[in-house]
């Protein structure tokens, strides 16, 4: 974390006015568009709809944890959580592993043209998820695909395969971004550290394994946590894939479940699901952070 060197106020000069100018715009917007929505979602999740008789008017009343009990009994919601967890367990290590290997190669003296490769790998990050999903959807479709050798043997859009086809889209978009973060961390390692290893006759593989990788663990943890958050929030790619594959149901991922629940409309149940999803995300990120901190401390 940055250590700030605060400018001391010159005698008699107060900076209240300036501070207000600097902080208020962000503060007001942050409250309105971050804090209020979060609190509002929690508030909504505590409401429930009551009717007087079957045809009576619907009234929202305080329902305590009613919606949360409904969430815990909601099979499709938990199936969708299970699905994205499975997705994350496979996809996140592969994506970060590839990103790490590419970053190490870019940082090694083994390759030429590193500037070209860096931009080529990063280019997919400039492609919006919607467009990436549409593009890969075409590439997976047997009648359009250039990879007919694959698509004529495996139906990449079938119920068994579509989760992994989506995983490939996500990997394609985000490897370059993660690679750049890891690569930046590698660049900030002082060269002198390698001198001793070179004198000892260590090869590039040995230097990568024993010096570079341990030093970029913080970068890996950071990218790992953002990837976990992204995985649990998966929405755009499966939403687009609904046009290509019937196997992507309206409860395929937690966010799709929330979206379809909200459009029933069952806003309070959707809000409770959002809160549960956010807490799950937070718990997972926190566990990863603690687990890796202990590992590095040892």
């Amino acid at each position: 974390m940055a250590r700030d060197t605060v400018v001391k106020a010159s005698k008699g000069v107060r900076h209240r006015g300036a501070l207000a100018v600097f902080l208020l715009p962000f503060g007001v917007l942050f409250v309105l568009f971050y804090l209020v929505p979060v609190l509002y979602a929690i508030y909504q999740s505590l409401l429930t709809v009551e009717r007087e008789g079957t045809f009576g008017p619907a009234v929202q009343v305080f329902g305590g944890l009613t919606q949360y009990i409904a969430v815990f009994q909601n099979g499709p919601f938990w199936e969708s959580i299970g699905r994205v967890l499975l997705f994350g367990v496979v996809q996140v290590p592969i994506m970060l592993g590839v990103a790490l290997v590419l970053a190490l190669l870019l940082d090694s003296p083994l390759i030429r043209g590193s500037k070209f490769f860096r931009l080529a790998f990063f280019a997919p990050y400039a492609v919006p998820s919607v467009i990436a999903a549409i593009m890969w959807g075409f590439l997976y479709s047997p009648n359009l695909s250039p990879f007919t050798a694959v698509t004529s043997n495996i139906d990449l859009l079938s119920a068994d395969a579509v989760l992994w086809s989506i995983a490939n889209v996500v990997t394609w978009v985000y490897v370059g971004y993660n690679m750049l973060i890891i690569y930046s961390a590698l660049l900030s390692i002082p060269q002198e550290i390698y001198e001793a290893a070179r004198i000892d006759g260590a090869g590039q593989l040995r230097i990568a394994w024993s010096i570079k990788i341990p030093l970029v663990v913080p970068a890996l943890v950071l990218t790992g946590i953002f990837s976990i958050i992204g995985t649990l929030q998966l929405l755009t790619e499966p939403q687009v894939f609904q046009s290509f594959s019937n196997a992507v149901t309206s409860t395929f991922t937690p966010n799709l479940t929330i979206y379809s629940t909200a459009s029933v409309p069952n806003i309070s149940l959707a809000a409770a699901m959002s809160v549960v999803l956010a807490l799950t995300t937070f718990a997972l990120s926190f566990t990863v952070l603690k687990f890796t901190q202990r590992r590095t401390a040892e």
């Binding site: 974390m1 940055a2 700030d4 605060v6 900076h15 300036a18 501070l19 100018v21 600097f22 902080l23 715009p25 962000f26 917007l29 942050f30 568009f33 971050y34 979060v38 909504q44 590419l102 190669l105 003296p109 490769f117 080529a120 790998f121 280019a123 997919p124 400039a126 492609v127 919006p128 998820s129 919607v130 467009i131 549409i134 890969w136 959807g137 075409f138 359009l144 250039p146 394609w172 490897v175 973060i181 930046s184 961390a185 900030s188 002082p190 060269q191 070179r198 590039q204 950071l222 946590i225 958050i229 929030q233 929405l235 755009t236 046009s243 966010n255 979206y259 959002s274 995300t281 937070f282």
Partner: protein, 302 residues
Amino acid sequence: MTVSTETRALRTQGMKKPARDGGIRESAVSRVVAMAVMIVATLYFLTPLWWLLVASSKTREDFTSTNPLWFADFALFDNIAALIEYRDGVFIRWLANSALYAGLGAFLATLIAAMAGYAIAKYSFFGRETLFNLILGGVLVPATALALPLFLLFSQTGMTNTIWAVLLPSLVSPFGVYLSRIFAAASVPNEIIEAARIDGAGEVRTFFTVATRLMAPALVTIFLFQFVGIWNNFFLPLIMLRDEELFPVTLGLYVWNTQVSQIPDIRALVVIGSLLSIIPLIVTFLALQRFWQSGLANGGLK
């Protein structure tokens, strides 16, 4: 920070030297393997984009009947013309909307975040750390989780289906505040602020005339990532907007793509539209790479 920038400068200057040095020890085999990995990765990342370019240049008949990875009759400009003419140029309208949401949104978000980050770095005030930690917590809140409650709030004020519903929430960049704080702490020396004070410049003026210049790489980085974030945003416009005239290009292409089974001809427009919608982003990234690469390096992980 300065140390790491210097090392990087030294390393880029001396790039050739360690390479030759290593050449004695690194076997030809590891070089070949390394280059092979890089080439395979390049093919993986660029083939889909190449396919999109080739597919965009084909006539409707050639699209399904010729080699998907090589050009046939070159009809790129005809396809672009067809896209622009379709439904009175609605696609151009979408592109303009995206440019407005992403351009204006990212510009204001950068300015607002830079002021907040600068204030947190350079002034001491009550609750400074608490405020910063709260903002950091905001970095972890995903945009998709906020979209639904935002929709409910906007619908109570009757502001859904307006440009404000998309523009206002995208003005908040907690990550931008984080990056600005780190960068302001590292690159705006206190002596300069004090000198400006002695010269009689007000605090706000000092920020705009002096600090913003010193923080430029961070500001470009924040702008760029916010720009991409807004341009790529899909869920918020999806639930906020009903009126096609207000759609950003991602939402418009998504809607077209869902109509392909009813209107097969629209598929060609989806393909050429996809290509045109990513070109502005790729060009922006290439043009500004010097800035964002150093911004990412300094802000990423310190």
